[in-house]
Amino acid sequence: MSVLLDEAQLQIADEAQRLVSAHYSGERLKGYLLERGAFDRELWERFGAQGWTAICYPEAFGGLDLGLLELGLVAEACGGAVTGVAALTSSFAMGQSLLYFGSEEQKADWLPQLAAGSVIGVVAFAEGQDMLPRAPRLRLEAGRLSGSKPAVVAGGIADGAVVLALGADGPVLALVDLSQRGVSRTLLDTFDNSRCTADLVFDDVEAHELPGSIDALAAARAILRLQAVIIGFEQVGGAQKMLTTARDYALTRRAFGQPIGAFQSVKHRIAEDYVLVELARANAIHAASRSGESDFGLYAAAARISATEAYDGVSRDAVQVHGGIGVTWEADLHLHQRRARTLAVEAGPLIFWEDEVITELQGAAQ
């Protein structure tokens, strides 16, 4: 890692771990898996009470004026406990969109509430397989939004959204209040229903451009990078938890007269997983430390790649180490398996971020 955590950061991490673990229950999360549209509202309210929803906002909007790293540490704790709270990262993304590109009025309307956690926000950029469609099918004409956005994380529970739409002169970012008539949501059946992922449909709904987002694709990309780093931390937290679980199981489960961790097929698999987690953690922290720098996009993409490789890989391996018990509904490993894959695609799949790395490297080489 490029930075060593300071006292305040260590304290945030500790507190987050403590609160989230105390709140964790596999049974509870399995309930959210089975029920569309439900999420861990109680935990979400605690996030607000703790000030974690306020981490990345200026004091003027009720924020704590801290950085990506601090929010990342909270997300890491959430990842370890596969919390049923998708709003942490979705609200963050909407809030940052407004903070960077919104009008003063838009900020005043939304940021204090987002910072307090009293409303839930989302961003909706992707369409089909395009994370940042150059010509969105969602249209903004004369302040009215028409069309749809697929598979929006937290879309089923959000109060507001920043969407990427096609305006009169090309792509625009627009703010839309989801409580309006004409907004409909279809909660999707997904393998991780706790994300409250929904298709959003807009039928001639009022929406307002974000005035700072002249180059809307660049603006959306900037927001996606910020979100990807935080989700990267969440992935690291999940991967670390799966690593620890696999290690602990390998020490206690016995076969052929010894702990299975004594077999190199198990032992080396777990060691490789440790390496994956360490690489991912290093990249997440480094990316957080580069926020605002010209190479942030490059390191955000790298962090995202390592985080996805780690969480997918370690959760896959952890199930294998557990054998039969690992594939039961009762054991909590499938919660991580589901979450790993969910986080992997919701902030953009590997091929997207690989392409981002290449584009940034090409830019830097010129």
Binding site: A126, D130, D189, T190, R254, G257, Q320, Q337, P349, E354
Partner: protein, 402 residues
């Protein structure tokens, strides 16, 4: 060969005639009970048509043909998604093994009932502390000195279809004072007997066809013993290799390569079909190559069978490679779909749907021989590499640290 070709054509004709009534489409939307009933009707029809127990002796209700004809039939049948899964273990292992060990008469009645789908047998081997290490099982069988009856106590785990089963074969520890694999004895049990409790175990994807089975003072006569006292490990091993060769799917029952190709052609990024992306091309092409090789290996094994040779390592290679590849390809196909890749339809099968395939793949890499055990099998049996260190080797079972 001409005979076999004729046999295959006739089988195909019969099978194709059953698709409308029993095929994948006919099953869609059925309740579990309806689907099971459909399966029983399919087996009865199959029995009437002379396609059940193809390679079993005629006196046991079979057709007295060779494994080649059975495989020829199976390879056609596997294509259509008939409701046969409830019976595949029953007819694959427990019924054949009991036919080897039990006296004539009753066993033939059971065999025919099983072939017709009227009765189902299950196989009670694994336990919570005995998975890959089967000989570590703890279910106790204590013999009553008065009448020779055995009293079973313990817990079995991962028993497929136990909740539907009429009978089961079970291996239990009859002597804890000797080395672990020497103190086991093998029986058949009536699954409706007093003291037998079946509880379903739900798997990660929500499916529940495996069970925990508890035995509380279940009393069985010594006549239900298969093989000698203390010889249970051998009978268990014999059971596991009865069906040395069966029809296989190189896609490991996941979606096909053709499906991957079609999906990658349909999906676009920035206006271009995903199939134009080298990453997608690599995954599909390499998976095709591997599946083609597995199919060729399978065909060679069939030809070997026809030529009278026993197949070798094909089963281990197939399971190891195909399931692992299915897991990775499914993960990748979810990935490239992007944000909508998280969609999941609980009704979809692993053959239809990348998400279901991916979510159930871990089970495939563990059940019926974990990857690590398959690698050991290949390394030890085929390549002659040393067995793993096993500290419990030769140690009396009751002296092995828990």
């Amino acid at each position: 060969m001409t005979d076999l070709t004729a046999y295959r054509s006739a089988a195909r004709a019969w099978i194709e005639g059953k698709i409308a009534e029993f095929g994948r489409e006919a099953r869609r939307g059925l309740t579990p009970a309806e689907d099971l009933a459909l399966g029983r009707r399919y087996l009865a029809a199959k029995y009437e048509a002379g396609y059940s127990g193809i390679s079993w002796p005629r006196e046991n209700g079979g057709q007295g043909l060779s494994p080649t004809e059975k495989l020829a039939f199976d390879r056609e049948e596997i294509l259509h998604g008939f409701p046969t899964e409830y019976f595949s273990i029953s007819l694959g292992m427990p019924v054949p093994i009991m036919l080897r060990y039990l006296p004539d008469g009753w066993k033939q009645e059971r065999a025919i009932a099983a072939l017709r789908g009227d009765e189902i047998w299950c196989q009670l081997f694994s336990e919570p502390a005995a998975g890959s290490d089967l000989a570590a099982l703890r279910t106790r069988a204590v013999q009553d000195p008065d009448n020779g009856d055995w009293i079973l106590n313990g817990q079995k785990l991962w028993t497929s279809w136990a909740h539907l089963a009429d009978y089961g074969v079970i291996v239990a520890r009859s002597d804890p004072n000797v080395a672990k694999h020497r103190g086991l004895t093998y029986f058949w049990v009536d699954m409706k007997a007093p003291g037998v409790t079946v509880r379903p175990v739900t798997l990660a994807a929500g499916d529940a066809h495996v069970n925990e089975v508890y035995f509380d003072d279940v009393r069985i006569p010594d006549a239900q013993r298969l093989g000698p006292v203390g010889g249970g490990f051998g009978v268990a091993m014999e059971t596991l290799i009865i069906e040395r060769y069966s029809a296989t799917d190189p896609a490991a029952n996941g979606p096909s390569i053709a499906r991957a190709l079609a999906d990658a052609t349909r999906m676009t990024r920035d206006g271009r079909p995903l199939i134009e992306d080298g990453r997608v091309r690599e995954r599909i092409a390499r998976n095709f190559a591997t599946q083609a090789a597995l199919a060729s290996i399978h065909r060679r094994a069939l030809l070997s069978l026809e030529a009278g040779t026993q197949p070798g390592s094909e089963g281990a290679i197939h399971k190891l490679v195909s399931v692992r590849n299915r897991q990775r390809l499914s993960e990748f196909m979810i990935d490239i779909e992007g944000v909508s890749g998280v969609r999941w339809n609980e009704q979809a099968t692993r053959k239809d749907d990348w998400a279901t395939s991916w979510l159930t793949a871990p089970t495939g890499r563990i059940a019926g021989g974990a990857d690590e055990m398959l690698l050991n099998t290949i390394a030890e049996r085929i390549l002659g590499l040393p067995q793993d260190h096993r500290p419990d080797k030769g140690v009396p079972f009751n002296e092995i640290p828990g």
